[in-house]
Amino acid sequence: MQERLKARARELLGDGVVTRVLGWKKGEFSYDITPAVFESAEELERDFVFDGFCGANLSKYLIQEASKPGKGKILVFLKPCDSYSYGELLKEHRIAKENVYAVGIPCEGMADADRIRARGIDGILGIEHEGEDFLVHTLYGDERVSVKEALAERCLSCKSKRHASCDELIGEEGEDVPDDVRFTEVARLEAMTPEERFEFWRGELSRCVRCNACRNVCPACSCENCVFDNPASGISQKAAADPFEENMYHIIRAFHVAGRCTDCGECSRVCPEHIPLHLLNRKFIKDIDELYGAYRAGESEDGKNPLVSYTEGDVEPSVVNERGRA
């Protein structure tokens, strides 16, 4: 697949359809892959990678990259889940669509390097899909890890292998994946007593160091200036001096992306403290689906998201108490 993507990128660069390519390249370690812009076939040849560690969602980078005047079109590779983030950003007019050439690429799930290393595999050099397994190349030879044991959390509950918005597709279009396990963890928390839930979240959120990685990576958290940096908002703050501020920050962040979050899972992926932030977003998604009908952010480039629309027959807020009792 990597070679196919490279070839197509070279073609599009060569034809002048695009002037730059947004893709992935290896970081310090082979498994720490970072988004990168390539401007020539040579750069592509040298640095472009696409393998089982390319979890990073490239769509958010387009806000900057596609707004550079006079720079022409940029090619971007979007995995199915990334394409929803891209669709949502298009809907919110955050990306100049005319400056983007989006290529949908298939995804069989991305690996979590930590889970692989936890199995005692070190010196990782690369990774490939092979049937039911990941084939991990290491300094010490190849190792096999079953896909289920190495997949990133968000890929375990993959929503769709079907793309939302893109101009071209490489490979076969996939299909939606039925939601079997996606909300299991949210439901487990919901079933706890309020005290248990409070303790759970206290334990998780108290680790927050306000590094803002979640905010920076989130394709929905794309504000020019964050409300927490807005002196007129009355809530601007930098570091958490009190547990309350972690609560405030994460509740408001989740609320602001509610109805816009595509559940791409980047927030949890990048959190250095491994706080399961996606469980906040998923709670909103679950509630929206249950209360206002199934909705998938980013699926369409137009229409209104659930928090800026309503129906006259919406449930009353007291439903929260009633559901709690049931």
Partner: protein, 146 residues
């Protein structure tokens, strides 16, 4: 949780100018009492209430927050309270999910003619919050009163 007999909760009530604030005025005009620990903040419409206001109230030591607006369909601005309804439903559900006691937050629709309902609502809300005791879960410890 042990309930302190003398505990008097701090309650913030956001009332929309056109219906609920007028409803609150009417309960005054009709001399219908409700506890003095309820303090009303006037907003043009319930849809003006930002979740940050609610969290801020809890941060600074409020024990309960209630939002009152026109009945759905009667909004002075036609649609404002429909947005309130969605936003607050989701926000309250999230607070519940974080383990914040459900009874600390409420939305009620009170029209300008419902002075009685306003007073009753406040009495019942204060009762519910009093039973829960002081807010400890969303409070900013630095702001704690003695």
């Amino acid at each position: 949780m042990q309930v302190n007999e003398e505990f008097v909760p701090t309650i913030v009530a956001f009332c929309c100018n056109w219906c609920s604030y007028a409803g609150a005025d009417l309960s005054g005009t009709n001399r219908l009492p409700y506890p003095a620990n309820v303090k009303i903040i006037r907003v043009p419409c319930s849809c003006r209430v930002n979740p940050t206001f609610i969290l801020r109230a809890f941060q600074r030591g409020a024990d309960g927050v209630i939002i009152c607006g026109c009945h759905p369909g009667d909004c002075h601005y036609t649609t404002g309270n429909y947005y309130t309804r969605r936003r607050m439903t989701l926000l309250f559900s999230m607070l519940d999910y974080l383990g914040i006691e459900r009874a600390r937050t409420r939305v009620e629709w009170v029209s300008a003619a419902e002075g009685q309902k306003f007073a009753e609502t406040m009495r019942s809300f204060v009762k519910d919050v009093t039973a829960l005791g002081p807010n400890r879960r969303l409070e900013d410890l630095r702001c704690r009163k003695d």
